[in-house]
Amino acid sequence: MSVFMDLNLSYTNDKSRMQSLIETAAHRESLSVPVPTPIKDLMEKLPIVQGRCRPIRVLNRLTVVMSEQCHFVSFSAYDLLAVQPATEKLFHVACFTLDVDIICISVTEKRPFIIKRSPVNGAVERGIMFEVSYSAAIRDSTMRRYTIANAVSLVETCKGKNLILSSAAEKPLELRGPYDISNLGLLFGLSDGDAKEAVSSACRSVVLHGETRKTAGGIVHTMKCCSETPDQQEAPPADSKRAKQLTE
């Protein structure tokens, strides 16, 4: 297992609210949370994760809610790229062709389309993860029914593989601890091991997938040097290992 991560925190312009959200996430022992702005602007010093000696890691994420194919443009500036397709055709395109890390499953409405096994298997082969957010279930009882129903049908199709559970929290009170979320995974039909992976190793795979999106096939990584003549550098062996890990 790897460290626990919550890969979906809703952004708000209210800086203090974002800061309290990140501090609560650190207290709940999550280790990586994405926000869509330069992290330095958000908080000067990141809080230490509860019971550890290192600070929480904060990433940038963009979620594109797609209702037409032209809505999607690849953004390499973000650490994580997610897409929420509104129709079955867009879901098919996202699974097979789009360069994304996460495909979000809608939890706030009745299942908009049937999730078929073929695009799901295609996405699994490409290393893309499906995401279910749980904070809507905390806010509203009708949303709770939709969340569970949509998640159960997704789990039946993907058989518990390539699934991550995250919060999409807008307030600190909507965050839950990693073991609680993994228990929630049991309600969605995941096994004990799959549910725990959904908040740890699967999230790690997503983060690595996001890193390789910025590289050339996960092998070559370019960095701008501070010296006068910018030069390309070969990636250290760790990057090639990460590319291999994604295919496992």
Partner: protein, 356 residues
């Protein structure tokens, strides 16, 4: 909407129950106590007792001290001087502190000189030393265990295996962790050379005492009487230790735990807990002292001793791998009777091997 039927199942746990006598030649109690190397908490429940007798108290107060070293580079455990003065000379007990077995890299040094590193995938690949995938990996191999016998000739200082591990820990992985350390019988003297190089502090085990009044307990008259099944008994012991009410009143929804039937009420009882890095040797001394205590006549002729292992230790009994799925429990409960007989219950969680 179809939901899985397995929702009412909890993760697997193992409970091994044994009945024997201290006077029996084939009793394995000593081995079973000694094999749980890293003990975090020892609780004793003394019925019909409001203060601990002086001999028992003195045992509690003379549990070994232990040391906490902050940010210890793990390669220091391979230091030649440390091996010669501490590891080869006696029993060193060491376990990493504030590291989670299912998230971080954890280290354990058992008294037989076995160094166990439980590493995540990246750390294992960077270290470059032979190891095995964890038995408790699920779909992907994300955790690996490196187990090294420091007393083996291949790990003698200067040897190839030793050099490879030392280079890996010193220059490739550079693993540093807070470390709890204890030594028997030498105590701190054998560890001084290592301690002096880093930020360390000595700690005495913390003792806490609670007097309980009107405690419902199972009617444990003699060891022969099958008063209640082990699961219910363990739940009751846990409830008493955690100070959870077993009243199960209709107005309270906090706990529905009950004392197993047939039950009796004890007017007062003493619960003593000791927390820290506790050595099996001290647990054994405590067991012998409780046996002496039981030889004298008392209103209730039993005492219950529970020993908890560290939830985040890489090893539990012996060198068996241990991990955490939902809970990392590895503990045993020894119910001792006046006639030198005992009931022993050893329990582990889902990610563990069967206790001895």
């Amino acid at each position: 909407m179809k939901m899985r039927a397995e929702l009412d199942q909890t993760p697997r746990s193992l409970l091994v129950s044994e009945r024997s006598s201290f006077r029996d030649q084939k009793t394995r109690i000593r081995a079973q106590v000694e094999q749980l190397h890293f003990n975090y908490k020892v609780s004793v429940l003394l019925p019909e007792c409001c203060s601990a007798p002086p001999h028992l108290d003195s045992i509690f107060n003379t549990f070994n001290s232990f040391y906490l070293i902050r940010n210890l580079p793990v390669y220091e455990l391979l230091d030649k001087n440390f091996l010669e003065t501490a590891v080869y000379q006696g029993s060193v007990y060491g376990v990493s502190y504030r590291t989670r077995i299912d998230e971080d890299n954890c280290v354990a040094l058992t008294p037989k000189g076995h160094l166990t590193l439980s590493l995540d995938k990246d750390s294992f690949e960077i270290l470059g030393v032979e190891g095995k995938p964890s038995r408790f990996n699920h779909r992907t191999k994300c955790r690996f265990v490196v187990s090294v016998d420091l007393t083996d000739s291949s790990m003698a200082p200067g040897g190839r295996g030793y050099q490879r591990l030392l280079t890996g820990l010193r220059s490739r992985l550079q693993l540093k962790t807070d470390f709890l350390l204890s030594h028997y019988p030498g105590g701190g003297a054998s560890l001084q050379a290592l301690l002096s190089r880093y930020d360390w502090s000595e700690h005495r085990p913390q003792i806490s005492r609670h007097t309980l009044t009107d405690l419902s307990c199972p009617a444990l008259l003699t060891s022969d009487l099958q008063s209640c099944d082990p699961h219910s008994f363990m739940e009751w012991v846990g409830a008493v230790d955690a100070n959870v009410s077993c009243e199960n009143s209709s107005s309270s929804f906090l706990s529905s735990l009950v004392c197993p039937e047939p039950r009796t009420t004890v007017s007062r009882a003493l619960s003593v807990s000791v927390c820290g890095l506790l050595l099996p040797h001290d647990v054994h001394r405590l067991i012998q002292e409780i046996r002496c205590y039981l030889e004298q006549p008392h209103l209730e002729s039993w005492v219950c001793l529970t020993v908890h292992g560290y939830a985040d230790s890489p090893v539990s009994w012996g060198d068996n791998e241990h991990s955490v799925l939902k809970g990392g429990e590895n503990f045993y409960s020894l119910l001792m009777f006046q006639d030198d007989t005992y009931h022993l219950h050893l329990a582990t969680g889902a990610h563990d091997t069967c206790p001895p």
